[in-house]
Symmetry: C2
Subunit: 364 residues, 2 copies
Amino acid sequence: MTIYNFSAGPATLPKAVLETARDEMLDYQGSGMSVLEMSHRSPEFDKIIKDAESTLRELMAIPDNYKVLFLQGGASLQFSMLPLNLAQGKKVYYLVAGSWGKKAYTEAVKLSKTIEFEPILLASSEDTVYDHIPSFDAATIDPQAAYVHLTTNNTIEGTAIYDLPDTNGVPIVADMSSNILAARYNVEDFAVIYAGAQKNIGPAGVTVVIIREDFLNDQPMLSSMLDYRIQADNDSLYNTPPAYNIYISKLVFDWVKNEIGGVDKMAEIEREKSGLLYDFIEKSDFYTSPVKFAKDRSVCNIPFVTPSKDLDAKFAKEADAAGFKNIKGHRSVGGMRASIYNAFPRQGVLDLLDFMAKFEAENK
Amino acid sequence: MTIYNFSAGPATLPKAVLETARDEMLDYQGSGMSVLEMSHRSPEFDKIIKDAESTLRELMAIPDNYKVLFLQGGASLQFSMLPLNLAQGKKVYYLVAGSWGKKAYTEAVKLSKTIEFEPILLASSEDTVYDHIPSFDAATIDPQAAYVHLTTNNTIEGTAIYDLPDTNGVPIVADMSSNILAARYNVEDFAVIYAGAQKNIGPAGVTVVIIREDFLNDQPMLSSMLDYRIQADNDSLYNTPPAYNIYISKLVFDWVKNEIGGVDKMAEIEREKSGLLYDFIEKSDFYTSPVKFAKDRSVCNIPFVTPSKDLDAKFAKEADAAGFKNIKGHRSVGGMRASIYNAFPRQGVLDLLDFMAKFEAENK
């Protein structure tokens, strides 16, 4: 039985990457060492982290006046680091279109009890379980604010922002964890982009932060580890980085570049793959998408429901038994969620459609 | 040529662990997935992290009233998390016997500019380049202080504390990064033990924190990720943990338990292995140890120097060419440093002694 891993993250990695990792496990390119045990100050690792950065720069067309950092703590630690470093006593706005965006806002509020600045909820679609990207009037944004935070892809709810909103000139900071490298964004439209690796980049345990240099703090932060300036000045080697996680990320960047042909091609593949599922759901009178507007559809996370909760539970159980793993939806949305990130094989979507058709026929 | 990796960390892992990691890379125990791409909420990973914890509990005899956490950010993030969570407005003392202990103190001072508490330098051997563990008068410690911080093994300088000092009843918090599982400590003697994995536990990117439950904070911290209570209440799954790093750590814990026979046996092996080097250096009138007192000797990091800086440089260069990698000492101490953590093979020490004898004969 073929196993397809629909996990929302950590998620499927390219098979070729895993094969390379396996082949190099005991001896990385003749060094006599595994990358798992290699000094982060060694010439071998120096090349790995520099190659990872340069390939990511090429893939995303990151301008020279942006720093690329490989940090620890996931997007969740960025929820605190961002306001800590960037708020500077000012207003900061949060566009909340999903559970993770709300967490980002909640952490800013939490921090604001110790560090002085003003987090503001710009708009939220929480009252409709985040079934769409909420709109707002840009004129309500104080142009002196430090930033507007948004989430480009809502992992749990399956929505995404492709066209950035008007923020009245205030810089945009984005959590791109679940669709980085799966959709094309113009890096220059952002002050900061950050992404936990475990969806489209690599294994859990490394977080990419892309920050425009003039947003690096001038004053020291309360912790060196939480200080973007220190991390940037040390090229992500202020302390021992998650070296193996960076190595796997590098292999994934190489895969997107060499096997796929870059981000535009990858985005095209993701649109086609997710389109197969959306088309099927649209044509069905059995399955429904909880996403309200077609323009908000994520290409990475596709939630869907059957006509009842009982059938949802039955679907999830039978799908798991048939090798479609981790397809049960998040408890806040219910139903199912097919996370089909960059490395998820197209054949897995086709096989899922067959299974969905069969399940519909048996349970209609 | 056999390669021996004397890196101070990330450091040599047991070959058997790497072989298992290689064999399971594409299919973890019939799951059809790599641990690199496995959901942290899957039954497979649930078992990995629980097994990791229970084996570590067994190895270190961790009592039930201690929580075991697997966090991100290295010991360096603990330098901030500890005072943030534990200081509670009180005095905190730092015994500084090495460069990392000084960093821990420096971070506490940095944090105290934002959060009110009083970091105090209890004693330091910095003026003699940390060539010994400094002593202090316990009566100078305010018994109402929150904790006394110490480093059980000074990675750079090659010293260690085996017998804990009298702290006037104040709880001890210890950075055990570089000799955890290599020497026997009584966990009940500590309020908190923490250790970056990349020396004796596993790959860089995961940090073990062992904390007595009554030291968990009752008040929320300024960031959920930096809040021991939240991390403990969520069994280290508040956000996506560094799953692969935890998996490798579990394999190392299994290795210490099953292949070595536990921490006491491991400690005996480390004493014997390091003893070979110390005996050789003691008998030599060419090599010298910068560690002042035999009682302070680390079993994991053994620094040594030749009669001159030129010969040190020559040694490091020739050793590297002969397959003895990363043996150059830290720039603050100079000379060489042989880091021979748990997984470092005894044969590597014997081969190094042969090389040292030959180098001495050629350069005396």
